[in-house]
């Protein structure tokens, strides 16, 4: 049975979602939690069965779909995708479990289960077409969640979200088709398998064009400046659960795809575009942090802070060395946990007061001390305090990029300052001071259902901050193989120099040891 663990992980929630239609309204929540819990248990089993010492793909599955064009159903995970899959199933679980009272609860839960299928599918797919299908499919449930349960501007926000990302991914599709065509030209067979594409060495000009095509698709998803404006609307209008999943998982698709596609397939182009992208990343970091500082709405603060953090992830990815990429993958997990938690926390107060404007609050620390404590913890994690999960990722990402450029890293490091500014200012406005608004006087503190979601997140935040090794090690091994692949594939001298050669380093190290 566990030979097909990935297929099970992908299609189990979808099938369960179909069954969900016949479940009674009253018990659908329990059903949803049960399904998501099973899914989460399966993903944990995946982690357990995962061999951390193997750097390549594991749990590979293969099923021919359109053999004539090399389109096959290929799945597999490595250290990079493993934890995002676990994160996806984890967030779906606690998302359903902590779902506050919503109309049409049944539809929401079924939608979430479908969304889970697409999320796992994206991260497990090793065939470009399968990847693309899941990538696009993931838009549909989210469109529905925002459009059906969102705020007053929900139609505008959901359509914007859909069209914007969709337009970007069409360009990506063109890139994929061209890539397959080029593969056909070079080898005489069609293939959409990503692992096949890895072996293909492209001329530099082709790399540049293809890189741009893929970049547009990914950058909109991430979202990178200046393609980010759909995100504040989507977050602003989406219900809590939608924001949580969007921030925690869906955004990671973009950054994950950079590591899965752009870097190993176009190493020279990656080096060529490293500095422009780093500049964009720095703009993302500083500019959106300042925009976040100007916000009136706490959810928008968190939304813009997401963009700012994604900037650090991008920067780490384009450090093109093991430290940076490992850091960026880890930061994807970390940002998923922390921003997911922050959106849940915003949801907590929104459920009580039905407003997200910070001016409505103030002095909440007196009324809701436990809420203030968890919020404070997540805030500090978001700010990147050591021994919280975010720090590990941020530190490694910046450390990695420092190898490539001193000045740019110094600028990017401003993240730790501006991040503190908007977060502390927001916290001060919401929690400190005296309770001035009558409506806040008797707010109930965090209830059991909310604790259910928040406690695991708080534990993860501290646990992986103190002891990141279980996660860091598998990521590291996979990243090492990616970096080595990039080094070997690269053509230009600059790329050879920028991307470290791990084997040579290792040999040099051993020979140095022997010399001793």
């Amino acid at each position: 049975m566990f030979d097909h663990i990935l297929s099970i992980l992908i299609f189990f929630p979808a099938l369960a979602g179909l069954f969900g239609f016949v479940i009674q309204k009253d018990s659908v929540r329990a059903y949803g939690v049960a399904v998501a819990a099973i899914e989460f248990a399966l993903s944990l089993w995946l982690w357990y069965a995962f061999d951390a010492n193997v750097s390549g793909m594991q749990f590979m599955e293969f099923l021919p779909l359109v053999p004539a064009f090399g389109i096959n159903y290929i799945l597999g995970v490595d250290g990079v995708s493993l934890f995002i899959i676990i994160l996806a199933s984890f967030f779906t679980m606690i998302g359903i479990a902590s779902l506050s009272d919503t109309k049409n609860e049944k539809n929401m839960i079924i939608t979430l289960l479908f969304l889970q299928m697409t999320m796992v599918g994206v991260f497990a797919a090793l065939d470009a077409i399968v990847f693309y299908i899941f990538w696009e499919l993931s838009l549909v449930p989210m469109l529905y969640i925002i459009g059906a349960w969102g705020g007053p501007l929900r139609i505008y926000a959901s359509v914007k979200f859909f069209l914007y990302t969709f337009a970007g991914s069409l360009v990506m599709l063109v890139g994929m088709l061209f890539m397959a065509y080029y593969f056909y030209q070079a080898t005489g067979t069609w293939s959409f398998a990503i692992l096949d594409w890895y072996r293909l060495i492209l001329p530099e000009t082709f790399q540049l064009w293809l890189f741009v095509a893929f970049f547009i698709g990914f950058a909109i998803k991430v979202p990178m400046f200046p393609f980010h404006t759909w995100l504040p609307y989507a977050h602003g209008q989406a219900p809590t659960i939608g924001s949580v999943i969007l921030a925690a998982i869906l955004l990671k698709m973009g950054t994950y795809a950079f590591i899965r596609f752009s870097l190993p397939m176009f190493p020279d182009a990656s080096v060529f575009f490293m500095f422009p992208i780093a500049v964009i990343a720095i703009i993302m970091i500083i500019y959106t942090a300042m925009v976040a500082y100007a916000q009136e709405d706490i959810k928008q603060v968190v939304a813009y802070s997401s963009i700012s953090h994604m900037g650090v992830i991008i920067l780490g990815t384009f450090a093109l060395n093991v430290e940076g990429i490992t850091g960026s993958v880890f930061l994807m997990i970390a940002h998923g946990v922390v921003s997911g938690a922050l959106f849940l926390l915003v949801g907590v107060i929104y459920d009580r007061r039905h407003t997200k404007m910070m001016s409505e609050f103030g002095g909440l620390a007196q009324v809701m001390p436990r809420y203030a404590t968890v919020f404070g913890l997540m805030l500090m994690a978001s700010v990147g305090l050591p021994l919280t999960i975010n720090f590990v990722g941020e530190f490694l990402s910046l450390l990695g990029f420092y190898k490539q450029s001193h000045i740019l890293t110094l600028l990017a490091g401003v993240a730790i300052i501006v991040g503190a500014i908007y977060m502390l200012a927001a916290y001060k406005r919401m929690f400190f001071g005296n309770v001035t608004n009558e409506k806040n006087k008797n707010l109930p503190d965090v209830n059991t259902r909310e604790w259910l979601a928040l406690i695991p997140l708080a534990i993860i935040t501290v646990w992986l901050g103190v002891y990141p090794k279980p996660v860091l090690e598998p990521i590291n091994n996979s990243v090492e193989s990616i970096v080595q692949l990039m080094h070997e594939k690269s053509i230009t001298a600059e790329a050879k120099e920028r991307i470290p050669n791990l084997i040579k380093d290792a040999e040099a190290a051993t020979s140095a040891q022997e010399a001793h």
């Binding site: 093991v322 305090l385 530190f395 500014i421 502390l424 090690e473």
Partner: protein, 641 residues
Amino acid sequence: MEFYLYLALFAPLAGSLFASLFGASKKNLIAGLVPSLLLFTSFVSSTILLVHILSGGEAVHVEMMTWMATGDLYIPFGFLVDEVSVTMMMVVTIVSTVVHFYSIGYMDHDKAFNRFFAWLSAFVFSMMVLVMSDNFAGLFIGWEGVGLCSWALIGFWYHKESATWAANEAFIMNRIADLGMLIGIFLVYWNTGTLQYNEAFAAMPSLETDVLVWTGIFLFIGAMGKSAQFPLHTWLADAMEGPTPVSALIHAATMVTAGVYLVVRANPLYDMIPEVGIFIASLGAFVALFAASMALVNRDMKRIIAYSTLSQLGYMFVAAGLGAYWVALFHLMAHAFFKALLFLGAGNVMHAMHDELDPFKMGGLKKAMKWTFIMMTLASVALAGIFPLAGFFSKDLILEVAFIEHHYVIYSVLLFTAGLTAFYSFRLVALIFHGEERYKLFGVHPHEAYKFMLIAMSPLLLLAIIAGAFKMTYFEMVTAVLPATEYHVHSAMTYWIMTIGTQLFVILAIAYAYKKYANSNVKVPDGTSKMENRLCYKILSNQYYIPYFYEEYLVKPYRELSAVFWKQVDLKVVDATVDGIANIIYTTGEKTRGMQSGNLSTMLKWMVVGTVALLTLAVVFGLAVRYSVEINAILSALGVK
């Protein structure tokens, strides 16, 4: 010994966690008592470690577990107890144990008693991590940890706007410096390949000077933030919004000295780059004078002591910058004792005066608060550096160092500052304890603090008096890892002239302070006196307008720029462009849908138009292909191709 190391390190954490269990419940004495006792355990363990080191034992080095490992990077949770860190551990545990017990009394009436102890112990834990770590990353953990606890404790009374503002200011300003620190760490890693102190320092001599200088500068920027050196100093005075025990522990004795500790710890690095050392020393001397001048006119008891702390930190940096690391560490230790004592005394006064901070509104308190009076006076004497108290041995040594190293400008600045120090310290003492009992005007009935609070303070009093006696023992111990330069003035004559001269100068300053402020003519200033309208008084009492400058030219523009970025750039440029593109498509559709009105004849018309267009195209291309040779000839004749 490893057991004691872990005990010393983790006892405060256990205390913090214990107290936080009671975080949201009502005041519970046990939530204060248990952390205090655990801290005492930590203190005992540190003492055992100290004895171990003093008796010539090996430095204790443990590696608890891996923290981060990726690529070539390997960062463990490693802890090192050597001569330097054990000194710091002693300072931290002594002062924090005292402050903990003291706080049981001080925070007696506070609703958030339990929360206070949770944070206070958490702070001690972070500080212990900071001083005990064996690598830069661990140092950074402690570094940020103390920043966090300092944020929470400055803003402890979070209902006060000023307190939360000061907390955020402290955190953000420290973050600015932390960026420098982080870059310094990156530099260390990419150039030496490791973050472990011993390996990194061992690899450094083979590096280029440029790299070393940059590393030294960036690490020092980190130190500047924590130790509140100019221009990142404004947060320290504002941090006095926190409860007074916090000021004693964090903002006088321990956290603010972390920067000095860093420079001392990185002594192999700074030894190789004396030019940076000179810069550190000059900045230190400047800050010493600069801070002392602001203390002269201030009318807030705690701020005066805070400026004095700042000034003394300047002294420490002078010593550290000039390569006299052990002197810096020694002054750090002595200063921690008498400054914490001074703050705790100030806390007693505040309690007695119902949180009144203006010393002009006090006066004559020596009758009501005999013991506090004695303690604060002795602490001030120690601070002023009068023989034979602690300050004499440590502070005068720094003067000597500056003199012997031939930095006469620094020497004279420090000497002058020593006079200022004595003056403002005794101005404070005189205003609080001597003269008329001006507090009666405000209807206050002062009372002495709880007896156990006074007893809790007594170890500090003792150490402030006798710490100087340990100088030689200390020297022998700590120079096992620090450069063992002994500072002796060449001729005995010069030495005596210098020492006695300094003492006389300081005593004169004290006498002047008493004469001016201990008499019965002192009035509560109301803004009309001649002195208050002088320009220099205004400059000093407004802290050289630096906070004003920061607010006006940094904070405000940042806020405004943020608003512009959001409202103008993000919404009106970036988003509007996207929506504009979408709108173009929409309008095109809207305009062209007329074509498909469903009216057959219109549609037929469009069909014909399409046919004609296609035909035309076919003809044009056909002709172009037919005559391509001629077209090319014409084009090349025109020079297009």
